[in-house]
Symmetry: C2
Subunit: 313 residues, 2 copies
């Protein structure tokens, strides 16, 4: 038996045939065209599925479910997208019905951050754990919670918005409308802002070899590794922001594992070693309870696709 | 069938016989004597149980379980207290065995804040809800999480430490060792500190009619209601601290109901009306999702005892 996993992003749609163990048999990707009506987007998805079935020789009858991971707020029970800023027509869209128009196969949907967390917990970095939270550092700070091997969605499928934990009361404005969210300090977007501020405040810093409009998440890290003091202090502060938010998450949810995802994890131990040390000191009961386990995500871009395929379980 | 509920506090032990519906048949209370060895404390508990059985005429055979709510960090599966600052001998104490020495009845234990949340969710302010968090404003900020009708404890039974969500990165030191926890801003202890600071900074405020060492959680509220500007600003800031932490909790857990407990809830709508308004505006998806439901705890001091009795379920 096989499962279809679809990672419906704002830019690309990735579609794959996945085994029960979360192995990708074959996958393909097409542009989303997020400005188009959903009927067209789903037509493309259906076409991808048929292409993959033909190319692998797997008969449609062996596909047990179709899972769709998508940004936005969902009613997963009914298979409906409630709203998403990423799509032009992103309000009250019946994903399940749209897919049912093409295939008579059970359809499941899940928030993209949640399905990634599910994939990493079931078959990725936290394999074997009963519970995990996944924090993805990118444009924003994404969050997903898996308890007892299942996505924890909360009452209105709106739980797990870990980026919108407060970090600084009355702090920097967040895209969500309130001030001081963790995302406004610990996202890569925030790191870029912090880097630019430090560059302007420290004209002698070697970070200024990079033009302001070319600054990215690596700029401060690269300079810090060369011993640049201003860059070091950006990196150290960023680590503290990360650790402080993670400590809050541990204090509330206390999952078996914390998974950190996003491109910035490539900084590896240079970023996460000190973060882990700070975390262990800041959690409630520090020193009295065993250390909290923190791991780096393993599935990369496939997490969404694989997690969507695992939604049936 | 009946259930024994025990609320083992640092000062008093309350013991009660409770029905399956959470009604107290009869209860009594004795001083804890927290400096004594646990054998003596459990002897007193057993004595209370026997007294209540005799007085009610309920035979021991009709008691289905004994539940103990206690401060501290627990291994609830094994029935063991891992540590608690409140008791002189509060480390690695086998509560279950200590009670089994007196009664051959199943024994369950739970953290005091958690069992209170369970009681309010099952038979109190959030009756009928599938999920709830309870936040108790007192010396600290206590927290309990109930999901699918059960206490959510997390991996090391250390979840639900809602008071130790960060509110202000690098802020006021908290008793837990880190800086800026919500408890350090939203507890009554914090409110008293904020009140004193405002009194010193505003010598003309009528709050100064109260001597500094007599200031309590009501001082600023009483003066604010009389129109005192300095007091009003203490109250308003306190409401904001409360709302901001609650918004974080909603963004992570998104339970059906939020229960607020503690003596300060007697301020009623004057405190909680504005807090609720702020909360609805600060949660993620504000305006796009239905309002979050916030209620005041109903069971008062009985919540611990009743919740402990409900631990069997």
């Amino acid at each position: 038996m096989y499962y279809i996993g679809i990672d419906l992003g704002g830019t690309n749609i990735a579609v794959g045939i996945v085994t029960a163990e979360g192995k990708i048999v074959k996958k393909m990707s097409v542009p989303t065209g997020a400005q188009r009506p959903f009927e067209e987007i789903f037509q493309d998805m259906a076409h991808c599925i048929r292409t993959l079935l033909t190319e692998t020789g797997i008969p449609e009858g062996e596909i047990r479910s179709i899972g769709i991971g998508t940004p936005g707020c969902l009613n997963t029970k009914e298979g409906i997208l409630i709203f998403a800023g990423n799509f032009k027509y992103g309000k009250l869209v019946n994903y399940r019905q749209l897919m049912k128009n093409h295939f008579d196969i059970p359809v499941y949907i899940g928030n993209d951050a949640n399905v990634a967390a599910l994939a990493e917990t079931k078959v990725g970095a936290a394999r074997g754990a009963e519970s995990a939270v996944m924090v993805t550092l990118g444009t924003g700070v994404g969050g997903g919670i898996v308890l007892d091997g299942k996505i924890y969605e909360g009452h209105l499928s709106a739980a797990g918005e870990l980026g919108h934990l407060v970090l600084v009361h009355d702090g920097v404005p967040c895209t969500c409308g309130r001030k001081g969210c963790w995302e406004a300090y610990a996202s890569v977007t925030a790191l870029v802002r912090q880097t630019k501020e430090a560059m302007l405040a420290n004209p002698d810093s070697i970070m200024n070899q990079t033009p302001l409009d070319k600054v990215n998440g690596r700029t401060s890290f690269d300079a810090a590794k060369k011993g640049d003091a201003a860059a070091l202090s950006v990196v150290q502060k960023y680590r503290e922001y990360l650790a402080d938010g993670l400590a809050s998450i541990v204090n509330v949810l206390n999952t078996e594992v914390i998974i950190i995802g996003g491109g910035i994890c490539k900084e590896g131990d240079y970023l996460l070693g000190p973060v882990n040390e700070m975390l262990q000191k800041r959690v409630f009961g520090a020193g009295l309870l065993p250390e909290r386990k923190m791991v780096v995500a393993q599935l990369g871009n496939d997490a969404g696709l694989v997690g969507a395929a695992l939604l049936h379980a």
